[in-house]
Symmetry: C2
Subunit: 364 residues, 2 copies
């Protein structure tokens, strides 16, 4: 049987070079390598230098590793907000970030809009707001914040730290990192790696804030508190034994992406998204769940298939495509399509053709 | 150049079957697998059933996954102690567990003895002690608690929860799990896997305690609080995306160990330890750092080489053996030898011979 192309939005299809890098890693003894060795420091630095080059991350930013993006939700709240955080919620994952703030004992507030909708982020929040949590790409519903909306938050909220969850969009978005304070992601989405590593990028305002909370005797976490991650990162090290293999692999995939060029990756992502959204709209029966084209994600495309979800899903599976189910309440009515760098233009063209063929067979 | 045998006490030499299992994992699409799938639940269950069979873990115990044993230090303190914990400290790692309790805001107390020594654990602690932290095998110095000492703690402290750090000793020790409440380890030591997964085993007393703290509005953590790990584990699931590949690999390695038999693994471990300790004692120049044979580890053997450390280390390296350096202050005077299931009897016999040859050449 031909291997199916995994289009679930993560864990998703591996970046096409990963298997080769795993073989090399075993040859080089990476899985037995001490995280206190010079070689490991080199692998750490490769990720840092690579991300700076690929995403244009300023030198003012530290790049640290956690076990997942979920962990970064928790650590960012613990280390950066003594009392208050505000969350823009439009789906299950932005809501989970808010819930973790509540569980952490913060006075967390939120602006919630209907699933699939955008929001005005340019309103000024109360001045006491210490941290503003933005989900750039809501994986559950396929809404992505336009960059202009995201970059506008700072102007109205000059003092709050702005933290961006970019789990299922990077490396695609071209953020202006100076308009925010922290951006994070996990590797099993756009970077096409096995799950088990989160990457947390934060600027010096974050470091200062967490050090200040620490000085004031606030609880900011333990071995993975931001100041610990930061001080080890200065030496290209981690506070405890990390997923060494994943860090090595991430460095290699970033190198491959630099070879291809971020411009080409972004153009291809947009081309593939356009091809698929067009196929959805032409199909008659499937429609993009996000009504406003401005707020539609280019990396996680969600189609509302209503009662025909199982039918179209089977049709696509028979043709070698494995879309993701809907999330939560939409499990049986939505289809989610990951559009990550590993998914090729040819695959997306064939996918669009398959959707067209399905629609055609239903019109007859 | 011949590949060297890694004898550092973790990340250490991979279990000899791991590379084959990684290949199979890629063939089967494990790295792209959703952690909400039936297949993943099967991999989770394979670890649980396998550990119960291999280590004789009672059915009353839950088995959950974290990113590392360091994380379990933090989570166990957060979820199981509202105010107080007591720590038996005889090296860097048992001390770090204590420090994490302090950072977590607990009134943590400790019994500290000199590095390399054992302690009387059978004294009764103040009744208010909620949690007693025991490090079965102190990786920094090569001290292991005799099982009788470990099992005796409960008799004098019937109410406190007894948590055992068995990071660098399992699967070797034959614990009586009914005499303690929780045992944990990470996979890059005795199980011979790449780093990036912690395994936390805890009984129903732990679940009840954490639920009670939660009901009383205490902070017990967020997505990885014990009740969250427990309720997902009931479904063979995890609260957030875990290191799926590592869970799959752990299940496979446990299967291999079951094939070999835990009795054979334990006998071999003891044989190899005896061979090496004898070689150290006969060498004249190297001596076991732990003076009392009763308290010497069978899985992490530490030799005090004094000023000759670099010399013997080079000698062994030239013969294909890569021992670990000493830990912390002992970096340049100790050698540490991991004696894990993947290290064969033949390797240990050759290692002992090499130490003998080095000693001989120095006597001339």
């Amino acid at each position: 049987m031909k291997k199916k192309i995994c289009l679930a939005p993560g864990p998703s299809e591996l970046y096409f070079t990963v298997e080769g890098h795993v073989k090399a890693a075993f040859r080089e003894g990476v899985p037995s390598l001490s995280h206190r060795s010079r070689l490991f420091e080199g692998y750490y630095r490769a990720v840092v230098d690579g991300l700076r080059a690929l995403l244009n991350v300023p030198s003012d930013y530290t790049i640290a590793f956690t076990s997942s993006a979920t962990e970064i939700w928790e650590r960012s709240i613990q280390s950066l907000a003594a009392e208050t955080s505000h969350h823009y919620i439009n789906g299950a994952f932005s809501k989970r970030y808010f819930e973790i703030a509540k569980l952490s004992g913060k006075r967390a507030t939120h602006t919630t809009v209907q699933d699939g909708s955008g929001f005005k982020t340019t309103l000024a929040l109360p001045e006491e707001t210490e941290l503003i949590a933005l989900t750039h790409n809501e994986t559950s519903t396929g809404v992505a914040m336009p960059l202009a909306a995201l970059h506008d938050v700072r102007a109205k909220n000059p003092t709050a730290l702005i933290i961006v969850d970019a789990v299922s969009s990077l490396p695609y978005p071209n953020f202006d990192y100076r308009q925010v304070d922290s951006v994070f992601f996990s590797v099993q989405k756009g970077f096409g790696l096995p799950a088990g590593l989160g990457v947390w990028m934060f600027n010096s305002r974050c470091v200062e804030k967490s050090l200040m909370l620490q000085e004031h005797g606030k609880f900011i976490g333990t071995y993975h508190a931001l100041p610990a991650l930061w001080s080890y990162a200065e030496k290209n090290q981690t506070p405890s034994t990390p997923n060494v293999l994943a860090i090595y692999l991430l460095g290699k995939v970033i190198e491959d992406m630099l070879q291809k060029g971020i411009h080409a990756i972004r153009k291809e992502t947009e081309y593939k998204a356009a091809v698929l959204y067009q196929a959805l709209e032409k199909s008659g029966a499937l429609k993009p769940f996000v009504a406003d084209p401005e707020w539609r994600s280019s990396t996680v495309l969600v189609a509302d298939a209503g009662e025909r979800q199982a039918d179209i899903s089977t049709f696509l599976l028979e043709r070698g495509f494995e879309p993701g189910e809907g999330y939560g309440a939409y499990k049986k009515s939505h289809l989610r399509f990951a559009n990550f760098p590993t998914h090729s233009k040819e695959q997306y063209e064939c996918l669009a053709d398959a959707i067209g063929a399905w629609a055609e067979s239903h019109r007859r």
